[in-house]
Structures are given as C-alpha cells and as structure tokens.
Symmetry: C2
Subunit: 207 residues, 2 copies
Amino acid sequence: MIKVYITDDHPIVQEGIKNLLATRDEISLTGVYQNGKDTLEALVKEEPDVLLLDINLPDISGIELSKQIRDAYPELKIIVLSVHNEKAVISSVLQNGVNGYVLKNSIGDEIIQAIHKVIDGELYMCVQTRDIYNNQDTTGPDFIPKITRREKEILQLVTEGMTSAQIAEKLFISPYTVETHRKNLMEKFDVNNMTAIIKYATEFKLL
Amino acid sequence: MIKVYITDDHPIVQEGIKNLLATRDEISLTGVYQNGKDTLEALVKEEPDVLLLDINLPDISGIELSKQIRDAYPELKIIVLSVHNEKAVISSVLQNGVNGYVLKNSIGDEIIQAIHKVIDGELYMCVQTRDIYNNQDTTGPDFIPKITRREKEILQLVTEGMTSAQIAEKLFISPYTVETHRKNLMEKFDVNNMTAIIKYATEFKLL
DNA sequence: GAAAAAATACCTGAAACCCGGGATGCCCGA
DNA sequence: TCGGGCATCCCGGGTTTCAGGTATTTTTTC
C-alpha cells in the first residue's frame, strides 16, 4: 500500500485527485493539506511514501518548500504539481531534488504513473515537461536566480514603480546602495535593465 | 434539470467539478471542454443553461472570451472560475456581464450555490471575491486598461528589456513614436514609469 | 572563530527614460 | 461624412538609470 499526501489549496483539485487515487487500490490517501505550514506539521507526525505537492501555495513558495521537505525527509518521494511550464521553474524545482514534476494540464494517468515511478526510485517528468526541459532554445533564463532578502525587497519596490532615490529614502539607506542592489540583480538575471527582471519575477511569483 | 458546460484545461479540475456536480441530481453535465475554441464550437450546436468558465485558457484570454460569449448568447449564464483575486481582474470580468465569479480556492459548495443563484437571475460572487470587490484600499489599478494592438506590441518588447531605440528599429518606426506609445501606456495605467506596468501586464496576462 | 555572503557606501560619464508640449494622416464606425 | 481613436513624427530639458569600477562593515554560516 502506497501512502500518499496531497498539498493543494484548491478544494476542487483536491477532489479531482482524491477521486483519481480512489480508483487504485494499491494507493491510499492518508492526508490532504491546503498550505505549506499544515503540510510540514503533518509530516512531523506521520511520513507518507509520496507527497503530491502543488508549488503555488498561499503561504510559502513551493520551490522553497520542496527544498525544505527534501532536506528534512530524504526518504519521502516528492511529486510536484504545477502550472509552470517555464524551463527555469522546472529546472529549479528539479535541482531541489524532487522526484517528479507533473504539469496540471496532464491527464490523471500521468499522476498515477508518476507515483509508481518515484516509488521505484526513478525520476518522473510528464511528457510535456520532458519536452520543455530538453529543449535548448527557450527564451528566458534557464534557472531562477537566488536572490537575497534585501534584493527581493528592492525588487519589490522597483516593481511598484519607485525610483532608486525613493527606495533609498524608504529603506533609510543611501541611493548608492540601492543602485548596487539593482546592479547585482541585473547581473544575477543576466539582463541589462530592470524591466526584463520584473517580468520573470512576477511570472515566477518571486515577490 | 440544469444543463452545465465546463471549460477548464486541467483534467484534474474537470474531474473535481464533474464529481461535485454528480452529487446533485438537478444538475446534468452536458459538455466538458479544454479551451476557448472548442467551447465556442460546442455552443453553436447546443446551448446549456450554465457555463463554468476558467479564465486561464491556453488559447484565448478568458476575459475576452467571456465578453464574446456574453454578447453572442445573452441567455446563457456564465460563471467564471479563476485564481485571480486582484480587484482589476474581478471588475473587468464582471463588467463583461458574466453572472458569477468564483475563486478556485473556494469550496465546492460555492459552485453549486453559484449555479442556483445565477439560474435564479442573480449575480453570484464567492465570499472572498465579494470582500476584495468591496474593499476600497487595494493596491493596483481598479480595472484593466484597454490597450491597442500597437501598444501591446511595444509593451511586450519593453518587457523583454529592449530600449526605445531598439524597439523603433525592430518595428521600422521612429523612436519618437515608441516614446509616444510609452507615454500613452503610462497614462492608461496611471503610473510614472514602465516598470510599474510590467507587473500588472504580466500578472493579468495581457501579453 | 574564520571565511563567505550580504549589505552598505561612494564616484563618474554616458545612455536611456520621462515630461510637457505640438502636429499630421488614416481609417473605421456612428 | 465626419469625428474620434489610432498610429505616426517631432522637440527640448530634466531626471533616472546603467556600466564601470572600489571598498568597508555587518551578518551568516560552517
């Protein structure tokens, strides 16, 4: 019997997956959670074999969460469910050591398959994900840069349309410092101006 | 018997809703579609009483689609399912004359309720939506500005990090013209620089 | 406790952007 | 048909950002 947890904040999706898993008698659903916090708490008490994890959660970035869980529970198989078909997101999540990546527009069978594959110790990616992952000539970054707390803060304010001077005033730091942070961000994202960053940051929900 | 169509590109969500509706014997599911095109084609052949419409579709902007369907089928009740909890999106969709707006993190019961309410001729909004809609002090625009084809094109290129000069060259127009479009965009979004626009444009999937 | 990472600050010149105008031609819908 | 929306082009001046550094202090992490 394969014990499975679901973490997804949409009741309808939960319902859909529940139903799907109910058709298989080698799989038992032992927990359903709406956010990262509840999931982490549940894992402390009881560890399932597989976690189906939506990476768009209300409280924590799923990318960050998947890393935390991976580090804390090396035996647990994590299958990420996601709407993100951008290479950068897929790469980042896979680099965190998850065991599967399934796009939400996949058919239910792919989830069942994924569960069996990861239990067998394999890495599972749905067909579409595989295509994107192997495709060289995608636009956009190949990975999501790791940004610091302060950089994130500055990026947020830039995104709201504030100038460096305004940001400096708001954060009680020198405009020069703000400039430095901007430069570092541009370097990390490998672009020449902030506009290009904002698109990715918004798309990838970094803010 | 209330005839219902579902349009959503996620099989798992379809499954969840199917299940939900199956528990009610006054509701019959008469069609399930994955995109705007299929939905429009199906409507030509047979019109249901209610359409449950996800506004994040692979082919058409759901906001645009809802308007089209409203105009072509005035009798059809449209309930929009969405992950967007931004006031601007809610307002825009409602202004297109849809009959209901339900966030995807709502519980299943709200969908059932919504169906009955709209059949009764009422406008239905889920609890959360109502809160957002009535809240005055939200950040961001109160509506999604209507932008022209050319403006959209310029916005896209700006978002990719191109300068006005580069855009001008690419589109074979004067840099002055590009500047004018930028100015018009900033006016429409009521902001002082392009960075603030990019966030909304990406968030609202205008590009 | 030391090393690495993050945050801070400074300078300068060039490039790009923003602001406040004015102006023309085209085309589509009322 | 004619008016409004759209796209186009132009100018000058002020502001902001970008690119190229260097360098110190604070915080985190191992």
